[in-house]
Amino acid sequence: MSEGIDVEHEKKVAEFYQSLGINQGPGDIQYRIILLVLKKNEGKITEFAEIRAYTDQFADRGSIGSKMKSVFQLEGLAEKVQRGGYVITERGLIAANFLKYTSAFYKKTKSMQAMLDRLP
């Protein structure tokens, strides 16, 4: 099911950004998961059902559908190419790349915090 996307980890990363007051984008778990699934299927059509396979654990169908329309399609991060089928755009790939940096920043910050915590 997870195939490279760790929902629990993404949840933690989103919570970290929310704690910094960033509730949209990197701080939004739905945004993170949808973008990661779209990136995973780069060059292929992503079925809505595949996105839901990940998002059903924490969000209902309606909110994901709404997010697809109000954020991804509206901002041009993904294009709807068929009924329940999306492909990631160039802009979407930039967003996915940015998401990768946010994960790295989270990892760095957490490891540093842990290291400093362990210092006498």
């Binding site: 842990a114 290291m115 400093l116 915590d117 362990r118 210092l119 006498p120």
Partner: protein
């Protein structure tokens, strides 16, 4: 020192010459020379006291500061923090080992001052025991800070402890060269090159590299000024202490030994300052933590500035 050696050589040459010539006139002159030489030697011995006394004072100062610092750390509230508990205990052990190295060293200097070579050597052996294990808590701290794994840290520490044990074994089996008491210090050399190599590698190069590595890692990240000050100063002080303890133990120059001990003393003071920086330094570095009262909005509800808040 040079004066003493030159006088002794001179006296020896004259003495040899006295045996060869066996003439009364020369014998008289030689006796006069020997008498004068001993007078110079006595005055040199008086000068010797000052340097050795300074050495004793420095050794005691290092021991007392290290012991006090270890005691203060043991009373530290940070012991309640579960994550830093193991490293704090290791740090306490480190400073205790430094203190237990310098107490016998101070007594060693007293023995040298009193011209007691046996006690001098005995104290050297006693001081070598805690010294051989100084790098063990350091290795534990560094590995635990990086990995957060107690087991791995313990295994690495065991390796360093083995370095220490092998150093001690070589030291005991090969022995040391008789102490050379000078105006500043008492120098004892280890009679084994392997021991010195183990000592350099296990007790000096690796721990210093580890300390510098972790310091670089911390300096490259964005952390608060206060945290950076505390961490960097603590690591620099530990590095200073370890490095100059090594110099102190292997040097064959008396003045270098006293300089090394002075730096160890500076290191212990810096370590103390890393935990308890004086107020003026805090202000200057901008690391002072101000305690602000939380703002109570209700107090200002009736104010005429309410529309602008």
């Amino acid at each position: 020192m040079l004066i003493i050696i030159s006088i002794m050589v001179f006296v020896y040459i004259l003495h040899g010459w006295k045996i060869q010539t066996r003439t009364n006139t020369v014998e008289k002159n030689v006796n006069k020379f020997i008498f004068e030489s001993f007078q110079i030697l006595t005055s040199e011995m008086n000068k010797m006291s000052t340097g050795l006394l300074l050495n004793i004072t420095i050794c005691f100062a290092i021991a007392v500061i290290s012991l006090t610092f270890a005691w203060v750390l043991a009373k530290n509230k940070n012991l309640e923090k579960q994550n830093s508990k193991p490293t704090l205990y290791a740090l306490i052990t480190f400073w205790l080992l430094v203190a237990f190295t310098y107490y016998p060293t101070a007594f060693r200097m007293i023995a040298a001052y009193m011209n007691n070579a046996q006690v001098d050597i005995l104290m050297y052996y006693i001081a070598a025991m805690p010294f051989a294990f100084v790098s063990v808590p350091m290795a534990y701290i560094i590995i635990y800070v990086i990995t957060g794994n107690k087991q791995v840290s313990s295994y690495v520490s065991v390796i360093f402890a083995m370095f220490g044990i092998s150093y001690l074994m070589l030291l005991v089996t090969n022995g040391v060269i008789e102490p050379v008491v000078t105006s500043w210090s008492s120098i004892i050399s280890i009679n084994s090159n392997i021991a010195i190599n183990i000592y350099l590698l296990g007790l000096f190069i690796i721990p210093t590299a580890m300390i510098l590595g972790i310091m670089l890692l911390i300096l490259l990240r964005k952390i608060s000024k206060r945290m950076r000050y505390h961490t960097v100063l603590l690591l620099v002080s530990i590095s200073l202490v370890i490095d100059f303890m090594l110099t102190d133990m292997i040097t064959t120059f008396d003045r270098m030994q006293i300089v090394a001990r002075t730096f160890v003393l500076i290191g212990t003071v810096l370590a103390y300052l890393s935990y308890f920086p004086p107020l003026t330094l805090q202000e200057k570095l901008g690391i002072r933590q101000h305690k602000y009262e939380p703002f109570d909005e209700d107090e200002f509800m009736d104010s005429e500035d309410i529309d602008y808040v």
